[in-house]
């Protein structure tokens, strides 16, 4: 593993006096799977929104390689190589998975400004879209409106969408949230498959998922980094145990 590809330095976000993220330093090594864990309200999703430009930091910097991402808009962050999935499934209910992926693949081109051409033009991405659908196991549902897909399939489509951007860094916000054991296993397999050549940062509550995927774990509490290290080290750290035991909602 090389040096850090994604770095946060002194990152902070304040909402009306409440510091949701409070001076976080984060170094994500190139090619690693880096998990963010912590009790509810620890600031994980806020941190994600800061890293992807959906929120503007009150203080601190974000770097992708040696490029400054601080203050950039979400679409710019996405184009520079940081793609994200959403914790609450976030799709276009009327579009089919194939249409989703065509949109994601066409995003970086000028094609999507062409209001005078037929949308069949997007068919040129059909091949790559089919590959991605196959990869996440959605081939059979390629033409079903996303709004009517089963929950597990929606989550798979979330992942495929982020992958379609071919990002350097893939941010997954609770990829197994609300899943049954079977879907969780499949998602873990999937992440394992797609991490090749990529860096993955994931927010995850499920400790068995973290232990089987993550190279490094950062534990957040009250917007601050509590401890960071390999899973095997941090799992026995007394501070981590008390952080989780101190919060009755920790294991949901």
């Amino acid at each position: 593993m090389d040096g850090p590809v994604l770095r946060a330095q002194g990152l902070a976000k304040e909402f009306r006096g409440f510091r949701a993220v409070d001076g976080v330093d984060l170094d994500v090594a190139e090619g690693s799977v880096h998990a963010l864990v912590g009790p509810n309200g620890a600031g994980k999703t806020t941190l994600f929104n800061l890293l992807t430009g959906f929120l503007k930091p009150s203080a601190g910097r974000i770097l992708l390689g040696d490029r400054d991402l601080t203050g950039r808009r979400p679409e710019q962050v996405a184009r520079l190589g940081v793609a994200r999935s959403f914790q609450i499934t976030s799709l276009f209910p009327q579009l089919t998975p194939r249409e989703h992926l065509e949109l994601a693949l066409a995003g970086a081109t000028r094609l999507t400004w062409r209001f005078w051409r037929s949308d069949r033009l997007l068919g040129r991405y059909a091949g790559r879209a089919a590959e991605l659908l196959d990869q996440v196991g959605l081939t059979a549902h390629a033409a079903t409106p996303a709004g009517t897909l089963a929950y597990g399939h929606k989550r798979a489509l979330e992942l495929a969408l982020a992958l379609a951007l071919d990002p350097r860094v893939l941010l997954l916000d609770e990829p197994t949230a609300g899943m049954g054991a079977e879907d969780i296993d499949r998602t873990v397999e999937l992440v394992r498959k797609v991490r090749a050549g990529r860096t993955v940062v994931m927010v995850e509550h499920n400790m068995s998922v973290v232990s089987s995927l993550a190279d490094r774990v950062t534990v957040l509490q009250s917007g601050k980094v509590l401890v960071e290290g390999p899973y095997a080290e941090i799992r026995h750290d007394p501070r981590v145990i008390s952080a989780y035991l101190g919060d009755p909602h920790a294991e949901d």
Partner: protein, 337 residues
């Protein structure tokens, strides 16, 4: 945006075309022109309301500005009327650029209010600039000519103007079913997700706004030239309200619904005016309320849902939110009204 079954589509198109051609025989020719122009105006607004998810309450600014510009071009230059109308449409697009730039970043009711405010500013300017616009008298005696051919007969002018309207419809249809239109649909359904895929959402909204304004201008310019005058009413807020009403009546996000809504409203107004009834607003208002309450998706949208089997069929012509079983609710509309 037609019924889902492929066989129904050309049939519907042929019926629509036939009706458009027969219209001046069925109703008083100036009314036929009104229907055609308002129908295009409604389709242009639907491009924004139904397919981009933005409720503009200031589209009179574009319809009216084009009416005046087209009228002035025809009056002062003597160019053939289609040039004047296209000039009007271009001026509407130009006007939409700054207005859109300042308003597309706003959401929901704020967008509606800001577009209304801009339209009122345009109204103010048109009213004050008497030397150019004629103030309260409006622009009178706009010539209707095409290469020396006198088209002041409304029956003839209808057929001279119809190609422009059909061209406008073709443009709306093309935009909705273009790669750009696909992005608009995704922005309407989930702007944050579109951003996460790398789409600069506000810039797409801006282009949609400008295109919608240009097509509204095409309709407004033709309307003014066709009647031989432009008046303050063209830029007044009631015009903005009327076109929104037509789209909602007919069905948001259906295109054909706007056409139907326009025909209904124009015919009803005409009927009430000629019958000498004075409380027109009461009647149209009551009908509006009833239709909105009974047909949640507008007349067209509801009829289509009845005809079409629930599963399978069309894709993007579904009104917003239907796929997940929630009623249509584009941004800027607090309720399906």
């Amino acid at each position: 945006m037609i019924a889902s079954r492929p066989a129904a589509r050309p049939l519907l198109l042929a019926t629509g075309l036939l009706l458009a051609l027969a219209l001046p025989w069925m109703v008083y020719p100036p009314v036929a022109l009104d229907i055609a122009c308002w129908a295009l105006f409604a389709a242009a607004l639907d491009l924004l309301l139904g397919f981009t998810g933005l409720l503009s309450f200031g589209h009179a600014a574009f319809w009216g500005t084009s009416a005046y510009v087209a009228g002035l071009i025809a009056l002062r230059s003597g160019l053939p009327f289609p040039v004047a109308v296209l000039g009007g449409a271009a001026s509407a697009a130009l006007l939409a650029l700054p207005i859109g730039y300042l308003s597309v970043r706003l959401r929901g009711i704020y967008f509606a209010m800001v577009t209304l405010a801009f339209a009122q500013m345009v109204y103010f300017v048109v009213n004050q600039w008497r030397g150019l616009t004629g103030g309260e008298n409006g622009l009178q005696g706009v010539p209707r000519e095409l290469f020396g051919l006198d088209l002041s007969d409304s029956f003839l002018f209808y057929y001279a103007g119809l190609p422009l309207v059909l061209l406008g419809f073709l443009a709306v249809w093309r935009i909705v079913r273009s790669p750009f239109g696909r992005v608009l649909a995704s922005i309407r359904d989930n702007p944050a997700r579109a951003q996460a895929l790398g789409y600069p959402v506000d810039r797409y909204r801006l282009l949609a706004f400008v295109l919608s304004a240009a097509l509204s201008g095409l309709a407004g310019g033709l309307f003014a030239v066709g009647h031989g005058f432009a008046s303050l009413e063209n830029v007044y807020w009631t015009t903005s309200g009327q076109v929104v009403m037509m789209v909602v009546l007919g069905g948001i996000g259906t295109l054909w619904g706007g056409v139907l809504g326009a025909a209904l409203v124009v015919l009803l107004n005409d009927y009430l005016v000629t019958s000498g009834f004075e409380g027109i607003g009461i009647v149209t208002g009551a009908i509006f309320v009833i239709i909105v309450l009974v047909f949640r998706r507008g007349v067209w949208g509801t009829a289509r849902d009845l005809v079409r089997p629930r599963s399978g069929g069309g894709r993007r012509d579904r009104p917003p939110g239907e796929a997940d079983g929630t009623p249509a609710r584009p941004q800027g509309v607090g309720s399906p009204v």
